[in-house]
């Protein structure tokens, strides 16, 4: 079963995403609360997929995405952000994100994106 690293500074959002994933029989590789934790945990855990928030303290999600992609070009990262303006989506996709989910989201949207990326 595919493993997922959940990255979001809000414990509420981590809980929501974890709930969606566990109901769909995914393994939770770990949870990170900022971009730096995400970079460190990716190295340590090598998850199959990462869900990455953007607006976070210490290191934002775009910076973490670039760092992860720089060291692991095969990494599969889906951005999950409330900041859904076009320029942000383009930045993320250019930095290597596989998809971009705008918060708040429905569970179906999350699963569609994950299944497509892991497909």
């Amino acid at each position: 079963m595919a493993s997922v690293l959940i990255v979001d500074d809000a414990s509420f959002m981590r809980m929501m995403i974890k709930d969606i994933l566990t109901k769909n029989e995914f393994d939770i590789a770990g949870e990170a609360a900022n971009g730096q934790e995400a970079v460190d945990m990716f190295k340590e855990l090598s998850p199959d997929l990462v869900t990455m928030d953007i607006t976070m303290p210490e290191k934002d999600g775009i910076a973490a995405l670039k760092e992860i992609q720089g060291e692991h070009p095969e990494a599969k990262v889906i951005m999950c952000s409330a900041m859904g303006q076009q320029s942000m989506v383009i930045d993320a996709i250019q930095a290597g994100a596989k998809d971009f989910i705008v918060k708040p989201f429905q569970a179906d949207r999350v699963m569609d994106a994950i299944n497509k990326v892991l497909g």
Binding site: A10, S11, F12, T55, A82, M83, G84, Q85, Q86, K103
Partner: protein, 161 residues
């Protein structure tokens, strides 16, 4: 005495539309703004305040305030219709995220009005507080079945843009 702040109508509309979209479309709570008013350079906030900084082509703050029972009702909706009697750590995180959703959607709506902004991670203030600022705030009362939510907005074009 505070004069009306110089905020462009399209920017203000983008922010209020964003709040209504989040409350109505995502939380399924009917909501409507009543007449905005000038709060001036200070205002007394309700039980809970979600404070968000705005940077980019516009700069300033969006402060979202509400009574605790309104926050509990919103959090209950965010958690799929649960009855929330006390805001625990997860509840506080949820109300912080509610502010993030409103500000994030506002950023998307502002982009349509050709104003690119970024939002700082929200900070929660608990308890009645008097906020004092250099710039003037406009207050937008949003009435809903969950209770009243007040959006206090002060955004002006950035000198750096």
């Amino acid at each position: 005495m505070s004069s009306a702040p110089h905020m462009e109508a399209q920017h203000v509309n983008a922010i209020t539309n964003a709040a209504v979209m989040i409350v109505e479309q995502h939380l399924g709570i009917e909501a409507k703004f009543s007449k905005p008013y000038v709060s001036g350079k200070q205002f007394l906030a309700s039980d809970i305040s979600v404070v968000m900084g705005v940077n980019g082509q516009l700069e300033g703050q969006i402060i979202c305030t509400m009574e605790e029972k309104t926050a509990r009702s919103i959090v209950g909706n965010m958690m799929g219709g649960m009855e929330i009697s006390v805001l625990d750590d997860m509840g506080w995180s949820a109300i912080q995220e509610f502010g993030n959703w409103v500000a994030g959607r506002a950023a998307s709506e502002l982009a349509k009005a050709e104003a690119v902004i970024d939002i700082s991670p929200p900070v929660i203030n608990e308890g009645h507080s008097r906020f004092r600022m250099e710039k003037t705030f406009l207050t937008f009362p949003l009435s809903s079945a969950a209770g009243e939510v007040y959006l206090h907005v002060s955004i002006t074009p950035s000198n750096r843009s």
